[in-house]
Symmetry: C3
Subunit: 206 residues, 3 copies
């Protein structure tokens, strides 16, 4: 269990650091700026989660996360030419981070004996807050919630994970299936520009 | 005492959830987006308050707040046609939430033996932070502090509550009078478009 | 040691309160608005630091910080005519606050036995978060990270302080030297409009 924790957190940290670096390089930040945005993107969600449940903040307890972030930034800077189609690769890393951190947040919620719905919220916070902070800090205009579907997918993934956990499904599958669900849903949504109907538009159709 | 707590928190949560839902419906969010904004509006202030004083975050301890928020969102969605003049009703719910959460924050500050001025600040944070987060997340341009008067009214209500508390006034009146003060001040301010003079403008008149 | 703590915190709080007041007066806020922005600017960084390491939030434990902030705001309001060239004086107070709070954050990190790199991050958070919140709340468009160099200077100052601390240098000099380094670097940067090369621009030169 502890191993799955560590793998989810380290991998999620790495991919979100790369996602933050790519976003800030697109905006032509200097080197320190790239690392700072990578840091905020990678630890934002987990830091808020830990502060909410009064858990020791993960990157203050274990500095290796900080080195992973610095490593991810350097990787993104070095291979920025190879990462030519930035937007597509950014989407992949961002989606992987969303999936890994959502499941991690749900799992930590279970370990803290939170209710089903609190686990879902903790999972979504862990999954999306880093990306929201990145967008607020990097974009000129904060357009956070035009993509509420981002959070919706995180909620669906968390619910599936918790249901699989309750029926004591195979442990590896319990983790992998919702991770894949989140990745597939996000890519489908982006590919086909799906959006849930807004309450208002539907009203006008009536 | 505990009962007044619970009533203030549940009612405040409900009205701010409705306020958040109405705001996000005006911006044509999808269903999940409406619930998320309702959640942030309703719990934002109380969550920051609880994290500041190292209190267990209220909605993680008691999931019923989450169900109240979901219920408030559904209510707002269903009755969106009846709530035709959204802006006026939004103002009412928003003001009621400001009043209830301000007094609740001051009361929790007293229970934690904070100083008079710290209680005022805790009250104001509890009262206004949810609305600020809602505005930051929903509006294209964050125009938060053009309405500093919002916070000013919260400060005045908290001071009155604390003074009444110190002179051991009738307990129910101690709660109701500042709540009514906040509501009346806010409605007057909106009705007559009152604003405190800015330091700078006054300088120019001299 | 405790004395240095207190001096750093009180002086840093005062200068950042003045910096926040001057910024909000430029934007023509009302009196309460000026005090609120002064408060957020002065306590923002330290509050996040205290919440991260589970330390009692400094201004809730000791109300004198709140009175310093109110005093600083009143000072800035009264002497606003004398402070004619607002921008230059604002820069000075802002830079002094950055320097004092950076060193304070690094020192608190050491006291909590954090690793070198965690101390650097805690120092930078303490130094820059108040100014970032001020800019987000006051500016129409959040232009926070166009000045990443602000954070970079804080990082360099923290690293120097920690190195001096490890070699057990004279205690007063250990504090004063990095404070002066931060002030000089910031003023040089502003004077000569220095910016680190962005990753992207450099790429184009190749």
């Amino acid at each position: 269990m502890n191993t799955i924790y560590t793998i989810l957190m380290m991998l999620g940290t790495l991919v979100l650091a790369i996602s933050g670096s790519l976003t800030s390089m697109e905006k032509r930040f200097d080197i320190f700026g790239v690392v700072i945005i990578a840091f905020v993107t990678a630890v934002g969600g987990g830091t808020l989660r830990d502060m909410l449940i009064n858990r020791d903040v993960f990157w203050l307890v274990d500095s290796s996360y900080i080195y992973i972030i610095i490593g991810g930034s350097i990787f993104a800077i070095i291979f920025r030419k190879a990462l030519d189609h930035l937007r597509k690769i950014l989407l992949l890393f961002d989606t992987l981070g969303l999936a890994l951190f959502t499941i991690l947040g749900a799992e930590i919620g279970l370990n803290y004996d939170l209710s089903f719905i609190s686990c879902v919220i903790l999972a979504t916070i862990t999954g999306v807050v880093g990306g929201i902070l990145r967008d607020v800090l990097v974009n000129e205009i904060p357009v956070i919630f035009q993509k509420e579907i981002y959070a919706t997918i995180s909620i669906l993934g968390a619910i599936l994970f918790l249901l699989l956990q309750y029926i004591s499904f195979n442990d590896t599958a319990t983790h992998l299936i919702p991770i894949f669900l989140i990745i597939i849903l996000r890519l489908l949504v982006v590919r086909f520009q799906i959006s849930l109907p807004s309450i208002y538009k539907r009203e006008k159709v009536q």
